[in-house]
Symmetry: C2
Subunit: 152 residues, 2 copies
Amino acid sequence: MERNRPAAPTPLADVTLIGRHTQQRAVVVKAFIRAEGFVGAQALHNRLAADGSPVGLSTVYRTLTALADAGRADMVRDTSGERLFRYRPGPDHRHYLLCTECGLSRPVDSGPVEDWADTIARTSGFANVRHTVELSEVCPDCGRQRATAEHR
Amino acid sequence: MERNRPAAPTPLADVTLIGRHTQQRAVVVKAFIRAEGFVGAQALHNRLAADGSPVGLSTVYRTLTALADAGRADMVRDTSGERLFRYRPGPDHRHYLLCTECGLSRPVDSGPVEDWADTIARTSGFANVRHTVELSEVCPDCGRQRATAEHR
DNA sequence: CGCTAGATGGGAATGATTTTCAGATCAATG
DNA sequence: CATTGATCTGAAAATCATTCCCATCTAGCG
Ligand SMILES: [Zn+2]
Ligand SMILES: [Zn+2]
Ligand SMILES: [Zn+2]
Ligand SMILES: [Zn+2]
């Protein structure tokens, strides 16, 4: 739409971490950060279209996987196997509680698991151990609603 | 083929746990148990075809997911998102180290994670917390081979 | 032996993700 | 500015695991 002024005070330093700075990437990253939670590539793509910033689905995929590769996003899979991404502001690797109903996510203290994983890695004889930990459930809100709706 | 004697000393009691006993299910379950490790539905299907016991792919999928639902199998997703199943003889829920090269799997002591998950479940206010923990890496054998093959 | 709810298979349908590739854009350079 | 090689973009086609459909079988039960 309009040209950026040179040396803009961009709050999107992240865009520069994943190759060339383009308008599309800026848009995707901005929307991704604004999302504040796990989003699927498709969902983000729809959201962008709705906001009047049409960006190719391929570009959304490319940007999200690039962010994940660069360590700026966490990636999980929902129960159907779809990938969900979440922006990671800091350098710390985290794990989250993820509501299977509404998608609300909350980081949890995962120190113990990290220690455990480290121990396994050290004692197993296996190299390059990586771990995936997902906690899924129904959040308080959804739980309440559900209790009201069903009688079981 | 041939009729079973009544009250056969079947090592396949599991077949009866998931609905009607059919020849196909018996074949699938038997092969699944014999596999001793994580297998994908397609891989199992191929193996069966190779062994001259053609069973529909749909049936393999149905049987494996039924076993998983009945708690007789563990399910994980490999890095590409494909589902892998592993037969679970006992009632205990386990977690495994899974080699990303050759598929070798080894159960690990997951007590600490279970405790941690329980704590989260109790203190989070979330209901029905379930967890997924996967450890993936390269096993000693594959690691050695890799070191020999590449210089990095 | 007959009946019927449940099971089978295989080909088509799904749906997320990836690839392709012909332009559009960019950053740098002269 | 104009040029240019490197990168990026996106529409459409390709992949590929998994599911769906449904005509056809069969286990289980009188
Ligand atoms: Zn919720
Ligand atoms: Zn961790
Ligand atoms: Zn291995
Ligand atoms: Zn566990």
